[in-house]
Structure formats: C-alpha cells, structure tokens
C-alpha cells in the first residue's frame, strides 16, 4: 500500500510540476503570432496532411497570411473553408478564380478509330501498362474511368468512351490529373470559354488516321489569335489562359473543330 501511494504521489507530482513548468515557459517564451494566422489556422482542417504542399496546417496558415498561398489552397477543406479564410483575409471568395478539370480529348466512339476489342481489367492504368489500349490513338482517353473512380466529388463521368467533367461538381483538387495515365486532364479557369480537346502529339496525317476530331497542328488558331494566347507546341494546340480573352476566333477557324466552346 505504502509503495502504491509513494509511486502515485511521485508520478503525480512530477506530472504536475512538468505541467506548471510548461505553462510558465510557454508564457515566458511566447512568440507573438499574427492573430490572423491563428484565426486561419482555426478553420483549416488540422490533420496536417500536407496536400497543400506545405509542412502541415500551421505552415499553411502562415503562408496564407503572408499571401504566399491562395486562400483556397487547402484541397481538403474545399470551398467552405476557403470562404471562411477569405473572410478573415478580407478577400472576397468570389475573387479567387474557380478552376475546373478538363479532359483534353474528343476521341469518342464516333471520332476515334478502335484498335481491338479489349478484354481485361477495366482500369486505364492497367490498360496502358499492358499496352492494349482499345483505341488506335496513343494519346487519347481510354474511357475506363480511372479518373471518375478517384474523383472524391463524383464530378467525372464517362460518356461514349471519353471522360467528361461536371463543372459544377468539380473542385479542382487535381486527383484526376494525377490518376490519368495519359496525362489528359488539365486544370483550367472555369470562366474560360474555349479549350483544345486533343492531346495528340503526332503530326497531322498520323492524327487523321486515328481520329477524325484530333488536332492536326495546322496552326490556323495560332495565326488567328490576337492576344498571343494560342500556340502549337509538340504538334498540338495549347491555350494560355493567362492571355486568352475568350474571343472565339481560334474555334471559328479550326478546320477539325477541336477547339470548342465549352458547355
């Protein structure tokens, strides 16, 4: 009995002492932290997952307050958290540009030429690994919906052999971008009206053979663009959304209509 009491008292006393010590040290060595930082930290999820690219939520809060990170930089918290943080930071949440994922392929069952009937694991990565894509185009959407299965917001669906993104549901978390074995998905500003729906880097003749809707790299769009936003690189047209004014001239001239107005 004696032993139990001594042990309990000793451990209890040490615990209490250490607690008090921590409190005093904390008070004495208090580092002034920006109140905004604390407030921002309060709204962040706090599971220190590091998905934002910073070393935990504290670092992220500090980066947001110092305007190194965007207020909607937390992919876990999503729009709800972004709004609250935007409120603290005095920025209008609307000002933060909504981004959406976009699948750069229009090779659906009508446009793209089929290679063979695929029998196997219906997963894009497996199909790519086996080298047995159902389509002759080496760059296009496989259509097994690996992107749709990783999407946490149920925003991606596969129609007619090509994945498409529901702009209202998409939160631009980037999971699909990482999952697509063909690297077809790009995150672009929601307000942009036009997008190139092809990623084929082969030359025009080769593209024509495998898909009737592919970009043939004719550069007509590049010549039409008045704001220097459209360029053909690696045999595929690409729009720079920082410069694009959504005038639609490129889409008008495109002979294969691969630059389309987005629904």
């Amino acid at each position: 009995m004696q032993a139990i009491i001594t042990a309990t008292v000793l451990v209890g006393a040490i615990g209490l002492l250490m607690g008090l010590l921590l409190i005093t040290v904390d008070k004495k060595f208090k580092v002034e932290v920006d109140e905004k930082e604390l407030a921002v930290r309060e709204y962040l999820p706090g599971n220190n997952c590091g998905a934002c690219g910073y070393a935990g939520c504290d670092a992220m809060a500090s980066a947001i307050v110092h305007e190194e990170a965007p207020v909607n930089g937390c992919p876990v918290g999503g729009a709800a958290v972004a709004e609250k943080i935007a409120h603290i930071m005095g920025v209008d949440a609307e000002e933060t540009e909504k981004m959406v994922a976009f699948v750069k392929c229009s090779g659906d069952c009508e446009n793209a030429a089929a290679r063979a009937h695929y029998v196997g694991i219906t997963d894009c990565a497996s199909a790519v690994a086996s080298g047995l894509s159902p389509w002759t185009c080496d760059y296009g959407c496989i259509g097994f919906g690996t992107c749709a299965s990783v999407c946490p917001f149920d925003a991606i669906s596969v129609h007619n052999g090509v994945a498409s993104v529901d702009r209202d549901k998409c939160r631009a978390c980037g999971k699909c971008v990482a999952a697509c074995p063909k690297h077809l998905i790009e995150i672009l500003p929601d307000k942009s009206k036009y997008a190139v729906r092809c990623s084929n880097r082969d030359r025009g003749i080769a593209v024509k053979k495998v898909c009737s809707a592919g970009c043939i790299a004719c550069k007509l769009c590049e010549k039409q663009c008045e704001s220097d936003a459209v360029h053909v690189e690696n045999n595929v047209s690409h729009i720079d959304y920082a410069k694009c004014v959504s005038c639609g001239k490129c889409a008008e001239k495109c002979p294969v209509k691969v630059i389309k107005q987005r629904a």
Binding site: V11, I14, M18, L22
Partner: protein, 193 residues
C-alpha cells in the same frame, strides 16, 4: 577514463547501433529517410534531443528514483520528463533562435517520445552509467542513428532512380535495404574492443 568514453561512443554508434542492431526508432528511420537533406535534419534533432534527455534522465534517476527506491517507475517518469523537456526546448528555440527552430522545427515534436530516445535513457540505467558516461552514450547512440538514417536515405535516393521489380517497389525494397544494412553493421561486432 578518456579511452573508455571513446569506447562508449564507438560501441553505441557502430557496434550496438540503435537502429540496425537494437531495432529502436524504426518508424522515423523508415518514415523520414526519403531525402538525405530531411534525414540529416532529423538526425541533428535526434542528436540534440537524445543528448539532453539522457543527461536529464540520468540526473532524475540518481537523485530521485534511486534514493526513493522507485526505480521501477523509471519508464513512466522518463516519458513524462522527456516529453516536457522536448516541448520546452522547442518553445525556447522558437523564441531565441528561429533559424534553428526552422531547421529542426517539424522534427522535434516527431521524436518527442520516439522509442530510441526512451531506449537510450533506459539502457543507460541498465548499464549503470554515470552522468558523463550517460551523456556520451546518448550522444554516440544519436550519432549512430544519424549515420544509419543518412545512409538509408542515400540508398533510397538511388533506389528511386533504378528500376525495381514491381513486387518489391515501395516499402519492401526499403525494408530489404535496411536489413542488408543491419547485416553489414554486424561486421562491427567483430571489432575487438
């Protein structure tokens, strides 16, 4: 005296390497060994924490637990004190030298109650080390940890660039490398000390 201290350092750092022959602190050893830079920072933090904690643990044992015949309480008391100590050091560093805090910052709380830290404190008691010997043993152990984790990080950086057979990719190849390192470190056991 001096030769025995050198002996302690060699024994703790190489022969009885904390990770590779005692298998303590494996979690951080495997967790933070992806890049040499990060593992060197962690190693520095470990050296810092283990050296201080083995000093404090020794004082605590000799002046409190032993006189009261409560040495069976050493584990729980050490955990309490070491956790507090690391927290305090962290606060102290945050205030006084933000540069060091930034370099060690995220690693300090990680190793607060790492089993290697506690293991050293308990082994020192077991081996009946005095104050100076405890500190030196702690330092040596931490240096051993740092050597091991930096070596593994170097190996992993090279593994990343080589083609590993699919079933071995990721954790298995890392565990295999660690196992091979452990076998290699057994060679130090034949040092005639």
């Amino acid at each position: 005296m001096n030769t025995s201290l050198i002996l302690i350092i060699i024994t703790t750092a190489l022969v009885n390497n904390v990770v590779l022959s005692q298998f303590l602190g494996i979690c951080s050893f495997l967790g933070v060994s992806k890049q040499i830079k990060a593992s060197a920072s962690l190693g520095a933090a470990v050296i810092f924490v283990i050296t201080i904690s083995s000093a404090v643990a020794n004082l605590l044992y000799t002046f409190l637990l032993e006189p009261l015949h409560l040495d069976y309480l050493n584990t729980i008391v050490f955990i309490l004190v070491i956790a507090t100590l690391v927290q305090m050091v962290e606060m102290f560093l945050k205030k006084t030298s933000p540069a060091i805090y930034k370099a060690l910052g995220i690693y300090l709380p990680l190793i607060t109650t790492n089993c290697a830290v506690l293991g050293v404190a308990l082994t020192n008691v077991q081996d009946g080390y005095g104050f100076v010997e405890s500190v030196v043993a702690g330092f040596g152990t931490a240096v051993g940890y740092t050597i091991a984790i930096i070596l593994l990080a170097g190996i992993r950086e090279r593994i990343d660039e080589s083609s590993v057979p699919a079933p071995f990719r990721g954790a298995p190849v890392v565990l295999l490398s660690a196992a091979l390192m452990a076998i290699a470190f057994m060679g130090f056991g034949s040092l005639a000390l």
